[in-house]
């Protein structure tokens, strides 16, 4: 199979039929062997019934129904897990992405790019509540991951399936899917895509809570470092504590030297010395332990990560 189109849906009762018709028309025009994977993320309206009807009509369609709402990352992950195409295209189920851009994305993948991201240059959303926070988040994501993409929030993206299989999605990573995939080394490109105003329903996903993005990013960033060379990173964490311990030791010795005979010796500084020494030693031990954990882990996949961080392909 050449192409899997993954579409997460959550309470899209009104738009799902129109969306399916458009996607089908666009995909048929591509002239490739394709499947459409519709992931229902625990909708509470009539979406599921509509999806059943659609899967009856269209043999290309496969519907994955969640037991409850798990969020967009999980929905995309489920779609990826089911996908069998060499290329996977994801898009929003709300008709804001234009299925006619499939061809453009696919062409770029065929030119050798692993991840091709849609860029809604002309975005049809509110400036203050949606576009400004999203600009800030995109800048942050670019600065922290090194994968500079203007529009991480755009779901319309194309990936090669083997790149997807290498990455592992975490918590709410749909907000920076492309940088995540590219941590395992990839060639990525941005293409301008069409963006349409919402016709039905209301928006459910998007980069809205920057602090969450920030926390997730920090975790990912840390993880990438810590899983490749845990002992070294934990040792780095121990350095300030060791420095503090040495400083406190110096103060203790100094106090001892200048002290009048018979005066009470203040125990605060020696105590701090002990505490900080203990902390840095603990961190070093934890680092060695982490090394053990990583070595016994799923080595094939960590090895892929290792090769990347040690100067693998980055475009």
């Amino acid at each position: 199979m050449d192409l899997s189109i993954v579409i997460p849906l959550y309470n899209e009762e009104e738009s799902v039929d129109a969306m399916h018709a458009e996607v089908r028309a666009a995909a048929d025009r591509l002239g490739v062997d394709y499947e459409v994977i519709l992931v229902d993320d625990g909708s509470r309206d009539g979406t599921v019934e509509k999806l059943r009807a659609i899967s009856e009509r269209d043999p290309h369609v496969k519907v994955v129904r969640f037991r409850r709402n798990y969020g967009q990352t999980a929905a995309l992950q489920a779609g990826f897990d089911q996908a069998r195409g060499t290329v996977v295209i994801t898009l929003d189920g709300d008709l804001q992405n234009d299925p006619n851009d499939f061809g453009l994305l696919l062409d770029n993948v065929n030119q050798g790019y692993d991840v091709v991201c849609g860029w809604r240059k002309d975005r049809k959303d509110k400036m203050i509540s949606r576009r400004l926070p999203s600009m800030a988040a995109n800048w942050l994501i670019g600065a922290l991951t090194g994968t500079r993409i203007h529009d991480n929030g755009c779901t319309l993206k194309a990936y090669r399936l083997d790149v997807i299989r290498k990455a592992s999605l975490y918590a709410e990573m749909h907000r920076f899917m492309a940088p995540m995939m590219c941590q395992s080394g990839c060639r990525y490109k941005e293409v301008e895509v069409n963006h349409r105003a919402r016709q039905f329903g209301s928006s459910k996903y998007g980069i809205s809570r920057i602090w969450k993005v920030f926390l997730d990013l920090l975790t990912v960033k840390m993880l990438l470092g810590f899983t490749t060379r845990p002992a070294a990173y934990f040792a780095l964490l121990a350095v300030p504590f060791l420095g503090g311990a040495l400083a406190a030791l110096a103060v203790s010795v100094y106090l001892h030297l200048i002290m009048q005979p018979g005066a009470a010796y203040p125990l605060v500084f020696p105590a701090i010395t002990i505490l900080l020494t203990f902390a840095s030693a603990h961190l070093l031990v934890v680092g060695v332990f982490a090394e053990l954990v990583v070595k016994t882990g799923d080595f094939k996949e960590t090895a892929a990560l290792l090769s990347v961080v040690d100067g693998g392909i980055r475009s």
Partner: protein
């Protein structure tokens, strides 16, 4: 020969774990079996006996001899507790619907009818709420308080999670993965796995009243179990969110305390060597970093050992019937899943 066996698979499996105390098992069995007959359901009865209550086995044996119905007796090899007993019973259950009953008089058999109706209308698990509750004042207060915590921590709306009377689809039982004290939180666990759970009021037996006073210690233990569940449900995939927040908070607090002590030295000439509070500040910073490093270890373990754990649960995969495979495909691709992680903990 036993009637049930001739008829093949029973519709309902009744599981009675006999673990802590046993009431008149014969009477419980008779009453519920009669009610099941009235409702026209074929049933098997599975008694799972913990080693502690071995003395009921002869009674169950004679019951098995006398009765026309299908009775299975499972005796556990040790004192494994109720979660293990339930799991063992659930593994053997052959009916599409599983009913669990406490081994003493707790609720009236009449509750079955309403529970079955709820199942038919789409619920996956129906739990009984003993209502109106007959219990000592002290116990009632404790229960109220405990359930307030449960509702708060798990954002659910249950009033009687530990009521032994439950009716569920077999699939629910298969996925619960009970251990330790988790059997008391079955509704919460099932809801978290995405099943539809409903609570129905069930008339309580008057015999249930002559019960024990639970000491405060009992509920303290349960509260610990609850915290365990809360943690596993929320942070199994993202331990750093928990440890990181806790660690960062501690570190920040410690940093502030130390900063104040240092500032005071420069502004008011208070000698640092006399300030024990500085020690507290440093201690908190150390604790903070250690907590954080534990969270990091947690993340590393998940990242390197459980990459394929999936947070989501698929209800079904729907495809046009003419294509390969059956329709609907229920629960395909349900790889390790969270239960793996829960069990490993």
């Amino acid at each position: 020969m036993k009637r049930g066996r001739l008829r093949g698979e029973p519709e309902v499996s009744v599981i009675i774990p006999v673990v802590e105390r046993a009431g008149d098992l014969r009477q419980i069995f008779n009453e519920f079996a009669a009610e099941l007959d009235r409702l026209g359901k074929s049933a098997e009865h599975i008694f799972v006996v913990d080693d502690r209550l071995r003395e009921v086995v002869p009674l169950l044996r004679s019951l098995q001899e006398e009765s026309e119905r299908e009775i299975v007796i499972v005796v556990l090899g040790g004192r494994f507790g109720e979660s293990a007993a339930l799991t063992s019973g659930l593994e053997r259950a052959r009916g599409e619907v599983v009913v669990t009953l406490p081994s003493y008089f707790q609720v009236e058999p009449r509750g079955l009818e309403a529970a079955f109706k709820e199942l038919e209308s789409g619920a996956d698990l129906v739990v009984g709420q003993r209502f109106p509750r007959i219990d000592s004042f002290f116990n009632r207060i404790q229960t109220r308080l405990f359930h307030w915590f449960v509702r708060r921590l798990t954002s659910t709306s249950f009033h009687d999670v530990s009521c032994g009377f439950k009716v569920m689809r077999r699939q629910v039982g298969r996925e619960l993965n009970l251990y330790g004290g988790l059997h008391r939180f079955i509704p919460v666990l099932a809801l978290h796995r995405g099943f539809t759970v409903r609570e129905i009021p069930v008339a309580q037996r008057t015999e249930d009243r002559r019960t024990r006073y639970y000491g405060a210690g009992v509920y303290f233990g349960r509260l610990l179990d609850l915290l365990n569940i809360f943690f596993l449900m929320k942070f199994t995939r993202t331990p750093l969110r928990f440890f990181g927040l806790l660690g960062a908070g501690l570190f920040g607090l410690g940093f502030l305390v130390s900063l104040v002590a240092v500032l005071e030295k420069f502004m008011f000439q208070v000698g640092l060597s006399d300030r024990a509070i500085l020690l507290l500040g440093v201690l908190m910073m150390v604790l903070g970093v250690q907590t954080l490093s534990l969270g990091l270890i947690g993340e590393i373990i998940i990242w390197t050992h459980a990459r394929n754990v999936r947070e989501y649960r698929v209800a079904e995969v729907i495809r046009r019937p003419s294509r390969v495979g059956g329709f609907p495909e229920v629960g395909r691709r349900e790889s390790p899943g969270l239960d793996g992680a829960l069990q490993a903990s």
